[in-house]
Amino acid sequence: MYYVELKNVEKSFDDLEVLKGISVSVAEGEVVSIIGPSGSGKSTLLRIATLLETMDKGELYYMGEAAATMGPDNRTVYEKPVKIKELKKDFGLVFQNFNLFPHKSVLNNIIEAPVHVQKRDKKEVIAEARELLKKMGLEDKEDYYPSQLSGGQQQRVAIARALALNPKVLYFDEPTSALDPELTGEVLKVIKALAEQKMTMVIVTHEMEFARNISDRVIFMDKGVIACEGTPEEVFNSDNTRMQEFLGKLQR
């Protein structure tokens, strides 16, 4: 059983076809990186997978349970809100620009959702949150507000916030793109540690070395299709012309 399964996803914004039939399945413990040029539809795919955006055609499953399937009129039909709400518990998303809640302390950012959405015991959640902060190297920052932290620290808080809900799948959309180069390392290290603990992850990134190192599988997207897919070795050494062109551009 796949943890997440996207089948033949198609999406247009008005006349612009952004996704033209994309299928991605991720198994337990797998780390999948999605790379590709700007505008190729990577973010849109993540937004569809995380239900921030709806697809026109295609299907979406979490843990084998349908969130969206093809209807009789050849368009996607989403499940009822109760079901969707249930399936939302299966994934988390880390944004490029963190999107921490500025009016809440670091600790409260992390415990808000477990306490107020999942109605879990506050003491227990706080203990877990402190564990997470420790893992992120932020144990001394729980009373800080996001604006008092560096970008790298904010992103690590955002990762802790996502992990506090115990998601099955964690998505990242360019988690280090908003960071100064000297701060990307600390975030990538945290993600690498998660990969070593067999956290199931889908990571959109422009950090090629990183993608190469931690991924079980790399997906190269171009113009709304998967142009090339496989192990890091296969993809980075592929003779796919678009992939070659993309890597060539990056090196320049």
Partner: protein, 214 residues
């Protein structure tokens, strides 16, 4: 007229002004939020209608609106309007101020980045939970200076209740001034409005400080 008698009469007027002020805030602040939400509704008819309403309320004099609210039960339905004077003032002020506050709320809500909604949505918050727990606290901080301006205007606007001959500060000051041919009540009422607004500014600054923790 002795000064202390005059002061006592004016003090009664102050009470009226403060009452209009307080009740208007109590009703118009929440009402304004509801109006803002209606204005931002996806339902085009609702948002269009409320948009029109807001523009009429902001585009016509408050004094005129007070007169309309006061007299419409009589002219429209032939009802007696005795006892309606004070409620009419509160209704008129509240509706008018709700329109102004609605636009302030709206700008504040729109100023909160979309990413905040999305982050909350991913964390499993419902729409209303997101609004109450995540968005509104940020909105309040954003709009506080604009709200302060409106509140200061409201202090001065309470004098418009004279148009319905309600015995607030300014109405009484005018009466005393006319019957005693003296300028003093105007000076006293100016001092009153000014001190009232100093107080408002002080309280609002306190709120702003309280919210400046982030």
């Amino acid at each position: 007229m002795a000064f202390d008698v005059m002061l006592r009469q004016l003090a009664e007027g102050m009470l009226g002004s403060v009452l209009i002020f307080a009740l208007t805030l109590i009703f118009s602040l929440p009402l304004g939020l509801l109006v803002a939400l209606g204005r931002m509704s996806k339902n085009k008819i609702l948002s269009g209608f409320i948009g029109l309403l807001i523009s009429v309320l902001r585009g016509t004099p408050l004094m005129l609106q007070l007169l309309v609210v006061y007299f419409f039960p009589y002219y429209l339905f032939g009802w007696s309007i005795s006892g309606w004077r004070f409620p009419a003032i509160i209704v008129g002020f509240s509706i008018n101020y709700a329109a102004y506050f609605a636009e302030i709320y709206r700008s504040g809500i729109e100023a909160v980045p979309k990413g905040q909604w999305e982050a909350a949505q991913i964390l499993g918050y419902s729409k209303s939970q997101t609004f109450m727990r995540i968005i509104l606290p940020q909105v309040i901080k954003i709009i506080l200076p604009a709200i302060t301006n409106e509140i200061i205007t409201l202090v001065k606007d309470t004098s418009l209740a004279f148009s319905l001959s309600y015995m607030e500060m300014f109405t009484i000051a005018k009466q005393i001034a006319a019957s005693n041919t003296t300028f003093t009540p105007f000076v006293v009422s100016a001092v009153f409005y000014y001190v009232f607004n100093l107080l408002v500014a002080f309280v609002m600054r306190h709120f702003e400080k309280k919210l400046s923790y982030y």
